[in-house]
């Protein structure tokens, strides 16, 4: 039973190793910095606040509302966390949520964890922050600005995270760009509306009961400067890359191949080795059958061994160490 069935957590095997490593190289320093920043901001309270709020976001993702015909909308929480805690704490909290989802519930892969963290905890948060701050500075101190800002921040963060996911799938050669990008973008445009509505509902509740919490989340502009720069670069990248990819699916694959993202043609020398060393196994069907036989023997052997060792353990205290 999984509390958060959002189609954004990429499982293992769908991203190429290059894309995976590249995204880890971004995620690790950003999360590391977030850890340090939140330590400075919250001091001793960092561990209890971050830990419990991460649990709250996770539990919050269970809160659904009926959409239509049996489907329901859920909260992802990137925008809400960003508005309440500021971008760095939100990144940290969502990193925890996504990691636990992958590690314990297999909602998202382990190797591609970096990519999932990047999409939701970094891109999602950055974009939500930018949108919210923009709306706030445009609308000023008017009471409804927080709701418009919250709604838009939520919608945009879901949409952009989804586009990022689609782009990564396309660059890995798993999903053709001209299908993935519109599909992910389209579906999440709808999901984003639900996210926006729930976010507004949560903000309304908190504004009524603990307005001081909302005030405290207004971080000074200086801190957000780095986030602005990075965020702007990201948005430009995606804005340029997405329609480009959509219109020229082959072009994207061509680009990917040029940069080594996809498996390109093997050097001819390596192709010759099998011929000389294993002439018999050149027949692929034969190899498959042999492998199936070998595999079956292995599994049965193990099963027998396990059954035998279990029968030998007659008393509960018979604890054999490996």
């Amino acid at each position: 039973m999984l509390p958060a069935p959002i189609a954004m957590h990429i499982p293992d095997g769908f991203l190429s190793v290059q894309v995976t490593i590249f995204l880890w190289l971004i995620t690790i320093p950003v999360v590391g910095y977030a850890l340090k920043r939140v330590g400075v901001d919250l001091g001793e309270r960092q561990v209890p606040i971050m830990g419990v709020l991460a649990a709250a976001i996770f539990a919050g993702q269970m809160l659904n509302f009926a959409v239509a015909g049996g489907t329901s909308g859920h909260l992802i929480g990137a925008a809400l966390a960003t508005i309440l805690l500021g971008p760095w704490a939100a990144t940290l909290v969502l990193t925890c949520v996504i990691t636990i989802q992958a590690l314990i519930f297999q909602d998202g892969g382990l190797l591609v964890l970096g990519a999932n963290i990047f999409n939701m905890a970094i891109v999602g948060v950055t974009v939500a922050y930018m949108v919210f701050r923009t709306v706030n500075s445009l609308a000023g101190e008017r009471p409804w600005s927080i709701f418009i800002g919250g709604f838009l921040a939520a919608w945009v963060s879901v949409e952009v995270a989804a586009l990022g996911t689609a782009l990564e799938l396309a660059l890995s050669g798993t999903s053709p760009a001209n299908i993935a990008i519109p599909a992910m973008g389209g579906i999440h445009a709808l999901i984003g509306i639900g996210e926006g509505l729930i976010t507004v509902g949560a903000l309304a509740f908190l504004r009524a009961s603990r307005r001081d919490l909302l005030k405290s989340s207004e971080t000074a502009p200086i801190r957000g400067r780095l986030v602005w720069v990075v965020g702007l670069v990201l948005v430009i990248l995606l804005a340029v890359a997405s329609p480009l990819a959509s219109r020229h699916p082959d072009g994207l694959i061509w680009v990917a191949t040029q940069y080594g993202f996809l498996n390109s043609e093997q050097s001819p020398i390596i192709k010759l080795i099998p011929h000389y060393l294993f002439p018999g196994v050149q027949n692929k069907t034969l190899a498959t059958i042999l492998a199936a036989m070998l595999g079956t023997v292995i599994v049965f052997g193990v099963a027998l061994g396990v059954a035998y060792s279990r029968r030998r353990k007659t008393s509960p205290g018979d604890d054999q160490q490996v």
């Binding site: 189609a7 419990v52 729930i198 595999g295």
Partner: protein
């Protein structure tokens, strides 16, 4: 009311359960990496890898059906790769005229799709075995060994500790809402309000949950500080890894490298 069933950990007395969590985590990640690197359509190697993970599942006493059932959750995402059948150029599988378009499916596309599905499925099984055979405190040990910052490990520990508590609270909020979600006896009245209202109700519940979480974190902070907490992460030193586990690690790494090399030789 406890939400135990959320925790996938199944305590058993098996060699896999006893295996040092640090080694287990590394092996799981290497297995997944191997899967990812194996070229398309290397069917014999996929079969051998399946035999490998199946053997591990048998030894772990978790029940093969348990693991296979849980791993079927990966299936929906596979749809993302389905279009490959139609878009990868190559020898024709079939041609389907649809209106004014012609849909062209290729063998290569089908192979790519099936390969991705199989590899992903195998990786997921490994992840399930890891989660089901390793208690969370052990996973924290594994994280520390991977050089995850100790402060972050503490946050994970606290998050996990209160995960079930807060999921309990969320469940209670949902139940309270259902208990009040009745239908009127009057004919013609519309039940449930409109979608925007429902979303905002759910949002209010979320806000409620977060507020209580904030206040709870305050109480936890007081309890921590009362026991001397000063903001630094302090832990006991990790025990040494037994030589036999090192041997298992090296043997497994060698086996996986061999399979990978073999696959590249023939299908790369």
């Amino acid at each position: 009311m406890h939400v135990h069933f959320l925790d996938p950990y199944r305590p058993r007395n098996s060699p896999i359960h006893r295996l040092d969590p640090r080694i287990k985590l590394v092996l799981t990640v290497v297995f997944i990496l191997t899967n990812t690197l194996i070229p398309t359509a290397a069917w014999p190697v996929y079969i051998l890898l399946f035999a490998l993970i199946l053997s591990v599942e048998l030894i772990s006493d978790l029940g093969v059906s348990f693991v296979l059932k849980r791993s079927s959750l990966a299936i929906p995402f596979v749809l993302a790769a389905l279009p490959l059948i139609l878009t990868v150029p190559g020898k024709t599988l079939f041609i389907l005229p649809v209106g004014s378009w012609t849909i062209h499916a290729s063998y290569l596309g089908l192979e790519r799709f099936i390969s991705i599905a199989i590899k992903s499925w195998l990786s997921m099984q490994a992840a399930i075995v890891l989660a089901a055979s390793t208690s969370f405190p052990e996973l924290l040990v594994a994280m520390r060994a991977l050089r995850v910052p100790r402060l972050l490990v503490s946050i994970f520990g606290l998050m996990w500790r209160y995960l079930f508590v807060l999921v309990d609270e969320a469940t209670r909020l949902i139940r309270a809402r259902s208990a009040r979600s009745g239908q009127s006896e009057k004919p013609g009245t519309k039940t449930g309000g409109n979608i925007s209202w429902r979303a905002r109700v759910a949002g209010g519940m979320a806000g409620n949950l977060f507020l209580r979480a904030f206040e709870r974190s305050d109480r936890i902070y007081m309890a921590m500080v009362s026991r001397g907490y000063d903001g630094e992460a302090r832990t006991l030193p990790l025990p040494d890894i037994r030589p036999v586990y090192w041997a298992i690690l090296i043997a497994s790494l060698s086996l996986l490298s061999l399979l990978l090399g073999f696959a590249y030789l023939f299908w790369g």
